[in-house]
Amino acid sequence: MADKILYTRPRSIRDVKTHYCPGCGHGIVHKLIGECLDEMNCREKTLLVAPVGCGVLAYNYFDVDAIEAPHGRAPAVATGMKRARKDKLVISYQGDGDLLAIGTAETIHAANRGENITVIFINNAIYGMTGGQMAPTTMEGQVTKTTPYGRDVTDVGYPIRACELLNTLMAPYYIERVSVHDVPNILKAKKAIRRALQNQLDGKGYSFIEVLSMCPTNWGVDAQTGADWVRDVMMPYYPLGVFRDKGTEEASRVQ
């Protein structure tokens, strides 16, 4: 009798080593997106926009057509692609520096146009790729390379809440914040991603999934401490939940 396969690498993900650090959230989210593309039979119609940030090499890991956007411009590049290929599934994958600092204008305006794309936002409260500088989402008091005495909100402002910000706009169809710090939340994150991709296939418009994610390397902690920090420090400030769901009209406000 053949063994039952319980777990396998998704077809949409290449069989290669990644450069992600142990305990990093990027790899987990890649896997979730890959599984969704497999389940939805969408690998062959996907156009992935990779950001500048630790996710820049996403195109080495996803076995889909992909483009590399300049830092912060992924939503504009995705807009161009989607407007040119309406039948494709366009995913803009971005970090917090990319999406909320240098690319704030592109983020807000793609959302405001209700572009029929799916944005996956990896919020790890830091600039991972460049070695741990302050991000727009860096927590109050958090020590980074450029906030060595902790983020002073009276000087550099408060961390920006992307979902809440985008939820002020009329056009977005779906906005949800999830986390990948433990297994139950990883499963929820996958559901959210699947939903956001399905919305695009159904022509519903802009869907935004914010994923609270670990960067143990630049937080200077081990993997488990990183996961705990998401739960204990990030989650109270960045509450999980569905902020907008035009589909069910029951956008259950954050608890």
């Binding site: 926009v49 057509d65 161009g80 407007r83 040119a84 305006h109």
Partner: protein
């Protein structure tokens, strides 16, 4: 033959892009090129094509990058300060080898400058302006007719070489109305096996400019170099206007060349033999043709609507064999026919 119509430069460029099969146009408003956007906004939806007003020039040019990467013909247009912002995408487009067409109707600078026509962006547009080792192909039309013809051609050439083709006009050309015969579609199309259309029935492919592994970028840069050499060998364009028997050669492009031609006609009436050498491509620059045209002449006079930017290329072409003089008007000023004529007369016979 196409229809003969009276069109503003901006409108002629827009219509030519449509004739060329431009299906996606993205832009952010800026004077003196707004009629291009207005024209596209009106016409493109009727043709079932895409017009989108972007949130910035940065976004507009990145939209062109994204759309063109999927294989469609895409364009953006702007004027000087907006082109400065598009430079980011120019560099990525060059590195990733995506064909794109951009129009720059230059205005006075630096900074916000003014909205009059100018030629102050030569350095930014011809010599680079963004990071890395790359070239854009730069066309410099001098009439509305040529603007239309070159805009059409730009789409074909951009596709042929997977390069960014830039139309470098100015505010005067943009705003001036002239009769123009609309160009016929060339029908030229190039296969785009590299286009991102989904990995269906083939391996997944990537469009990118990052090449981290040891030596890989250098190999890519060499590949670009080969491509640029092919462009230099095949795409140089210039006009030789009465240079052959001339004693004095005026070198000018775009609007400034029109002034020079008028001056040459007057000078010739006075028995002074002058001619105009007009580069039509600014990159690749017609170094050899200019060198040949200038050989044995008494003087070369470069005339620009700037403080002297193309001047360096003229000097490179002439290599000190003939004295090179300069007459320029920056900030929206246009050299007058009288000024040019007087300068040449001052050289004596």
């Amino acid at each position: 033959m196409g229809k003969r119509v009276l069109l503003k430069g901006n409108e002629a460029a827009a219509e030519a892009a449509l004739i060329a099969g431009c299906t996606h146009y993205f832009a952010y408003p800026i004077t003196p090129q707004n009629e291009i956007s207005a024209y596209m906004a009106k016409r493109m939806p009727k043709l079932n094509r895409t017009f989108l007003q972007a949130e910035s020039e940065i976004a507009a040019c990145n939209m062109v990058y994204g759309a063109a990467a999927t294989g469609v013909r895409a364009m953006t247009s702007s004027s000087s300060p907006g082109i400065a912002l598009k430079q980011e995408a120019f560099s990525y487009i060059a590195g990733a080898e995506v064909p794109a067409v951009v129009i720059n109707m230059m205005r006075g600078g630096p900074g916000l400058g003014n909205i009059a026509g100018s030629q102050g962006d030569y350095n930014m547009c011809v010599r680079g302006g963004s990071n890395g080792d790359f070239h854009n192909l730069v066309y410099a039309p001098s009439t509305v007719q040529e603007l239309a013809d070159l805009t059409l051609k730009a789409f074909d050439v951009a596709e042929k070489y997977r390069i960014l083709a830039l139309i470098l006009g100015d505010g005067y050309l943009a705003q001036m109305s002239e009769p123009c015969v609309l160009p016929e579609p060339s029908g030229e199309r190039h296969e785009k096996p590299w286009a991102l259309t989904g990995a269906e029935g083939r391996d997944a492919q990537v469009i990118k400019s990052l090449r981290l592994a040891d030596g890989v970028l250098e190999v890519h840069n060499r590949h670009l170099e080969e491509k640029y050499k092919a462009v230099e060998a095949a795409e140089v364009m210039f006009e030789n206007f009465m240079c052959d028997d001339a004693d004095f050669i005026l070198v000018a492009y775009g609007t400034a060349s029109r002034v020079c031609k008028a001056a040459v006609m007057r000078l010739r009436e006075k028995g002074v033999k002058a001619g105009v050498f007009r580069p039509i491509t600014l990159w690749p620059y017609p170094y050899e043709a200019l060198s040949a045209a200038a050989a044995g002449k008494k003087k070369v006079l470069t005339v620009e609507m700037s403080l002297g930017q193309m001047l360096l290329d003229v000097q490179l072409a002439v290599r000190g064999e003939v004295p090179v003089d300069f007459l320029g008007r920056p900030g929206g000023g246009v050299p007058m026919v009288d000024e040019v004529e007087e300068r040449v007369l001052s050289y004596g016979r």
